[in-house]
């Protein structure tokens, strides 16, 4: 991505410290960006991909939807965007029903699909201009130019898409989705198969979109991505939403901190004198694992170390570990299956 233009992006109003502060406050009278109520989806094959989904996406937030392969992420997005039929339930975009006011809602939504489907023979410029027209906007070469520059595609504007690399094609799809200036943007695995640098550029782009008030819903398999960018996180598994939480709250609530003490001499059980601490002995008896309270109260650690010393237990090594979103996610998905 063009660094100069990123700088221009970032030159917007200063960001408030609290991430997600720009997102719509709960209880605001404005309708949410996306409201999904009781949506179920059964494909023609008879397979039920979604089970009574309820989900609200606030205006201006970045929402990450996580879930294993086949969880129903793409299906859910396809329904909101009008690609898959909505048979059961209701979806509102900015308060408009996607079935009754489909013209309005679709004009406000942009989608970067998971698959790299592009018109091989078209040039970058033409395909992006096409998208703008398709979504009902009059031609605006200045806007198309800005989008292409922001995505470092300007130099490639007259290239046939088939001559571009995979990562470049991904950018073309993003440019197409931004061509009509959507208010709500769906990114279905935008960083799959994308190198580290482009991924970071993409994060910057998404943040800059939020600065402009665009609501972003993304799916990803890279937990670090959700951790890095999202204001809120939803986890879907087997066609059901199993959790929706603010990222920080989620980390606080589920993030475990563990202290592992590798013992000098293995033991077969935790000594009585240490019973008041939340200690567990590893299977081989070579290590003691201490799980810290979620709020990270450190007073206990001091007491623990004191008691350990009093009991004459010596250890040769220790390390601490804080569970990442990835651990939380794996736990969640495993619990449900």
């Amino acid at each position: 991505m063009d660094r100069n233009h990123l700088a221009a992006f970032q030159a917007g109003p200063p960001q408030t410290g609290e991430s997600g502060a720009r997102a719509q406050a709960p209880g605001s009278t404005e309708p949410p960006a996306v409201s999904i109520q009781g949506v179920s989806k059964t494909y023609d094959t008879g397979f039920q991909a979604l089970r009574s989904i309820n989900l609200t996406i606030h205006r201006g937030e970045i929402f990450a939807l996580l879930g294993p392969n086949g969880a129903g992420k793409t299906t859910l997005i396809s329904i909101v965007c009008g690609i898959a039929m909505l048979a059961e339930g209701q979806v509102l975009v900015n308060g408009h029903d996607i079935r009754r006011d489909w013209r309005k809602t679709r004009a406000q939504v942009g989608l970067v699909p998971q698959e790299l489907s592009t018109d091989s023979f078209e040039t970058v410029w033409r395909t992006v201009s096409f998208s703008r027209g398709l979504f009902g906007k009059p031609a605006n070469p200045a806007h198309i130019e800005k989008v292409l520059r922001d995505l470092s595609l300007w130099d490639k504007r007259n290239h046939q898409i088939q001559t571009l690399s995979g990562g470049m094609k991904r950018r073309v799809l993003i440019a197409k989705a931004l061509a009509h200036e959507p208010e709500v943007l769906f990114l279905d695995e935008p960083t799959a198969g994308v190198d580290v640098e482009l991924r970071r550029d993409m994060w910057t782009l998404v943040r800059s979109l939020r600065e402009k008030g665009v609501t972003v819903i993304l799916t990803t398999h890279y937990i670090e991505e959700a951790e890095e960018m999202a204001d809120r996180i939803g986890v879907i598994n087997g066609g059901e939403i199993v959790l929706v939480e603010g990222k920080e709250a989620l980390m606080r609530k589920l993030g475990r901190k563990q202290l592992t003490l590798h013992l000098h001499t293995p033991m077969d059980r935790v000594p009585e004198t240490l019973a008041r601490h939340a200690l567990e002995l590893s299977e081989d008896g070579e290590a003691l694992v201490y799980t810290l309270a979620q709020d990270g109260e450190t007073a206990d650690v001091t007491a623990l170390l004191q008691d350990l010393a009093d009991a004459g237990i010596r250890f040769r090594d220790l390390h601490t570990q804080q569970s990442t979103l990835e651990d939380i996610f794996v736990d969640l998905v495993r619990d449900r299956t």
Partner: protein, 253 residues
Amino acid sequence: MNIHAVRAIYSFEMARTWRTLFQSIVSPVVTTSLYFIVFGGAIGSQINEIDGITYGAYIVPGLIMLMVLTQSTSNASFGIYFPKFSGTIYEVLSAPVSHYEVVMGYVGAAATKSVMLGLIILATAGFFAPLEVAHPVWMLLFLVLTAFTFSLIGFIIGLWADTFEKLQFVPLLIITPLVFLGGTFYSIDMLPPTWQTVSLLNPVLYLVSGFRWSFYGVGDVSVAVSLMMILVFLVIAMATVAWIFRTGYRLRA
């Protein structure tokens, strides 16, 4: 109406025509020239005049119809099949465009191309046979209506097909035989009586007959019947497209 979308789809499809200019225009012209040389020149010189028209001239309207019908169906079917196949259809499905706007864009472009093709073949024919067009306005009307109707039929085939084989199947096994048996190269008066009756069941006969009437003022059936038949086709094709879109058949999962 989302006029920007119609224009976008239309010019996208027309760009495809220009990009594939050779297949789109040149090869049908070459094929037609061969027909004229073989049927009009070599064989036609041995055949009596039909309704007072030399055989070479007689087959001109039929040949134009043959090309317009096959090209309309194959071009329009490919135009919508390919985005389904490549996956780029997602964008059209997620866009604020109605079914009618999609049809206007895709079918409008395919029909435009066919009309252009018809006129080019007409000009080419001028080199091989003496040409006269008795009712030019009617000629154009028949050409446009036929191109549009069969582009619609092609569009339906493209929606229905889920393999390249199926895409080839209808044009090859249904449209081409109907066209050949529809009086393209002969008058049905030349057939035995039973086959004349059978021929009247062939819808294409009415198109060729009406089109030929606009050239020479003669046809196998009356021009009013021809016009009515083509309008009937048009209505059936439009109703089918409307049904497909309403049910999401093979477009939306």
